[in-house]
Subunit: 402 residues, 2 copies
């Protein structure tokens, strides 16, 4: 019996990254990395495999039981594919807290897994920048983290009309709204229809003094310093953030486009991070920024770059040229930092050029007997179709100027 033909589809809710997709992914993750490094953050990472118990304490039961990939390994260990990075960083910091030179500025761009129905902006696997500052109690830390979030958005080419930074203080929120039901409602606000929210709100509104709450001192101070640094924030008394672990200033970056009006990402202060490990607290502020939502945001605004492969030159052997000489030209270009693919097909020259163009390689360089003896090569810019005769030095130079 002939075996069933295998599917070429990826597993449900995850993505294949063909070179064009990978290019965009590298762009998005590259911008994140560049900006956090500008702010003095250093990279760490860990395995996606974690002991399941890491998620049982702090995260809500619903998340561990229904929204994670958890399985038992052959050594009877319960293993979870990390659904978020915070428990991992808490574990790593608790494990070496006495050796680490606080304050720490750490970042990572891990892939994280959620077992849920795939939908726009929510896949089963996504990448998420995590940037955290540990060991600073004062609001300077909150200011830095929010500045950093804004700087990344700007580096992506977004401007003030595109997004809004909403800010609140979890502490005063707890103080004012002792009602758990209310906090839960506020947290679901952006996922609800307006009328459903108002209805639910009315039901519990008699417990509340007023909609228009004044920002507390911390929110005002943070906003004022940020304003001086050119970062606008909006006080959002109904902003809660889902996770239980926030303890102070929280923020969310919202997409202002009416077609995509939703939270892009957010973060805040979570000073009780090490509680799980029976360790005394370490002050912490940070945020997580997912690749999928950011990609949607950039796509909507035409802010994603056009595909350019890392390959810069397609080297085309002409007629019966000696292959060793062609490979020597490739070597010389590579030594000068040029990324070169050598044509190994037996196609006609015209088809070789088409192939380079299909791969979006910007330059074709032709190598025949005459070129090898003169050291001057015919080069074709595949975008402008202009041709030049250049030495290896000159090719390297003009490729770098691109």
């Amino acid at each position: 019996m002939k075996p069933k033909k295998l599917s070429t589809e990826s597993y449900k809710g995850v993505r294949d990254f063909y070179p064009q997709d990978q290019f965009l992914q590298n762009y998005i993750l590259g911008v994140m990395k560049k900006v956090v490094e500008r702010f003095g953050y250093v990279e760490y990472s860990a395995s996606i495999l974690e002991s399941a118990e890491l998620y049982r304490g702090k995260t809500s039961e619903e998340i561990v039981n229904e929204q994670t990939y958890t399985f038992t390994d052959r050594g009877e260990r319960e293993v979870t594919l990390r659904p978020e990075m915070t428990p991992t960083i808490a574990r790593m910091i608790a494990g070496k807290r006495h050796e680490l030179p606080f304050p720490l500025r750490w970042f990572s761009i891990p892939n994280v897994f959620r077992y849920e129905r795939p939908q726009r902006g929510r896949l089963r696997e996504h990448w998420q920048l995590n940037a955290d500052l540990f060991g600073v109690t004062g609001i300077e830390a909150d200011v830095e983290i929010i500045s950093l979030a804004a700087a990344i958005m700007r580096e992506f080419g977004a401007n003030e009309d595109d997004f809004e930074i909403r800010i609140n203080d979890r502490e005063t929120l707890r103080e004012k709204f002792k009602d758990k039901e209310l906090i839960k409602l506020l947290d679901r606000k952006d996922k609800m229809e307006e009328k459903d929210f108002i209805e639910a709100w009315k039901k519990i509104s008699d417990k509340m003094p007023d909609w228009t709450i004044e920002p507390g001192k911390k929110v005002s101070d943070v906003s004022e310093i940020l304003e001086k640094r050119g970062v606008k924030t909006v006080f959002a008394p109904t902003l809660v953030r889902g996770f239980d672990y926030y303890t102070g200033i929280i923020f969310e970056v919202f997409d202002k486009n009416p077609k995509n009006n939703r939270s892009l990402f957010g973060g805040g202060r979570y000073d009780n991070l090490l509680e799980l490990f029976d360790e005394s607290p370490i002050p912490a502020v940070g945020f997580g920024m997912g690749d999928v939502t950011i990609r949607d945001f950039l796509e909507l605004r035409g802010l994603l770059p056009t595909y350019r492969p890392s390959t810069q030159v397609y080297l085309v052997p002409v007629a019966e040229v000696d292959m060793n000489a062609v490979l020597e030209v490739a070597s010389e270009l590579r030594k000068r930092g040029v990324n070169v693919a050598v044509d190994l097909t037996d196609k006609k020259v015209g088809d070789k050029i088409k192939l380079a163009d299909k791969n979006s390689i910007p330059f074709a360089v032709f190598v025949g007997e005459a070129e090898i003896s003169s050291g001057i090569y015919k080069c074709k810019d595949l975008k402008t179709h202009s041709e030049q005769s250049l030495s290896i030095e000159e090719i390297a130079k003009s490729v770098k100027n691109l």
Copy 2:
């Protein structure tokens, strides 16, 4: 009852990457990426989650059943954490073969998972460069792939005394050694004690004409071209490589150090790649190179670089300076491409410098009232302890020259 204290250890057989570890990991993966891009390879990737059926056809049953992480998801799908990248790339290429412009040069540096007892050089999760050239039948492709492997080793600083490239032809091997038992024995050769191998060898040696087999034409041709390109190879008639899918030239890079005498990595030709998907064959040559074995190799020879954080400047506020002015200096430096961490502690200046030094940050720049009004800042090189007074422009310049 007080809950049990959570462990701060990572899951068994996987690694945490603290910034110093991540730096080395970025170095290793960065060298791989740089060199493959020089050869015109473009990056792709995919999720670690794959349907388990992808591994049932081609890979030996032992690997799927006992050596992979396979579990059933809540939709009754059998899911495997990819143990290698080749089935994934086969799936991706089969899925788009009619749109893709062959030949393709593709690479990826995925993490892959094996469920086995952790030991030196074999962890449950490791990263593995996969570089593959699809669509070229001729030996130029084999030559390129082996050149690429050698170029990566050289870029790591290894020289010819450090490693040896062994080469064989699976096709002539099959032709000559029809005995399956013998092939299996040869494949296990490097994992066996010399005396055990000889004993097993003797048992089946009467089936064999002679130990000293001549290389076939393909091996000779490939070796000759490589020799001209400065890449030495050694014909290894007993080299087999474990996977069933190889169909032509195979190679392995061996560590020549007596303390670490073993295969570092390898690859070869596998033209039947798409068989699983009922597709007509596509010629393919490639190799996989793991991070753990390479790291051991480099460590043994002192070829790993010393830790340098991405952070270049530690900005130290002095006395009662206005924080907004300090943040402005940070912004100006960042605009010029300098990675700056701002000190937010209330430590004494001496302790702030110590902190920068503990974080291996090379420069401290001091910002007080006087500096802000003059625009000239005292800078301390934390390695040489020399001090200079520099403008923002000059700081940016001297940091870049580092």
